[in-house]
Amino acid sequence: MTYIENIFVCIAAPLLITAVCMGKSHIRFFFFCFAGMGACLLSAYINTFFVAYYDANNFNATVEIAPVVEEIIKLLPLLFYLYIFEPEPEKIKGAVLTVAAGFATFENICYLIQNGAEHLGFLLIRGFGTGAMHIVCGAIIGYGLVYVWQRAWLKVAGTCGLLGAAITYHAVYNMLIAYGGKGQHIAYVLPLLTIAVGITAGKLLAARPK
């Protein structure tokens, strides 16, 4: 049995002290980092509930339940931030990506505790692959939110649409991982490739005159 909440406390405590020491200017980063890790913790509980409710096996949980639950829970702290603080569009991207990074970090730590840390090569690939996948899902929502939250009528429907896109991307990744073998290798490369394409497209777009 993994005492996931104890792990959360152990990781959050030093970060919390650092946040206090570093002052107000950095508090936003730590807040979203905690939010990401908290979202990971909460989604673990909710995943377990749905697995029991649907009497699902490990495969169904990974491929069908986890992507939906994780992406919805990851969005909740962001919606809170957007509705309460009404931030500038530029601040939204940073917030989404920090939540995603916090989520991926906590997920990796839980994975290490459950599966051991003997194989550095595999863990390196997994760390980058899973991290990149969460960042891609965050980027889909983050960059989309910057666009849709500038237009009142786009807000709700646009957010739901972006959430759907992120869920499906996450589910495709998890499915390839669950299949194993070559599928697993493709899965680890896919998010890194998506990030590379995204960065290149962004640079090309920025270079074009408006």
């Binding site: 069908e64 429907a157 649409g161 759907g164 589910a171 499915m175 299949y179």
Partner: protein, 209 residues
């Protein structure tokens, strides 16, 4: 085998249409192309998930609504596209023909729930009712006009075709004949791909570059 080919073609068509929409958006920076790219992106991802699941595990997803989420997101973006392409006067316009949309939608939903999942059916049919409500209104509003009005009429007509083929597709899935081309389900699925491509053409005509 036919189902696999059908899914692969569907994924390829939506992917190509999505890439084209993204290119059009990069060139023109016009919002409808962005929404269209999101629509095709969602359809492509949902199609990829469904196809991979079928290819790797020889069955379709049984427990949760992952592909459905992608498809519903696509419908949401199509709805937003309709909203973007309409003006205030069109949105305020009302005609009796619009009521055809909820009547047909609710009747069909009542039939579909006897075969499928209640929650997903209600969600999908609600989106179809909204889409057809807006497109019937647009079609009547722009009726008989030339120029821009004619282009928008074509777009609304394409959405009505899309909704009709979707309804027929779901209806045919209730009466599964076989895994061969004799099954009407595959005819409607290929027709659906056609309407998806027509959507891009009609939006390009209505919006320009």
């Amino acid at each position: 085998m036919v189902e696999f080919v059908d899914n692969i073609v569907q994924f390829a068509v939506t992917l190509v249409a999505g890439c084209l929409s993204a290119v059009f958006y990069c060139r023109s920076r016009k919002q409808p192309y962005f929404l269209l790219a999101c629509l095709y992106g969602c359809f492509a991802l949902a199609g990829l998930y469904w196809t991979l699941y079928y290819l790797l595990f020889s069955e379709t997803p049984q427990i949760f609504y992952v592909s459905e989420t992608g498809w519903i997101s696509g419908y949401v973006f199509l709805y937003l596209l309709q909203f973007t392409l309409s003006d205030k006067e069109e949105r305020a316009f009302r005609c009796p023909a619009m009521w055809l949309s909820p009547i047909v939608g609710i009747l069909l939903a009542a039939y579909y729930v006897t075969y499928g999942d209640v929650f997903a059916t209600i969600l999908m049919n609600t989106m179809m009712i909204l889409l057809s409500w807006h497109s019937i209104r647009g079609l009547v509003y722009w009726g008989g006009q030339g120029g821009e009005g004619r282009n928008l009429r074509h777009f609304h007509l394409a959405v009505i075709c899309f909704v009709t083929v979707e309804y027929c597709l779901w209806l045919s899935s209730c009466f599964w004949v076989s895994d061969t081309l004799t099954n009407p389900y595959f005819w409607f699925d290929f027709m659906l791909m056609g309407t998806v491509v027509v959507l891009l053409i009609t939006v390009k005509r209505a919006v320009g570059m």
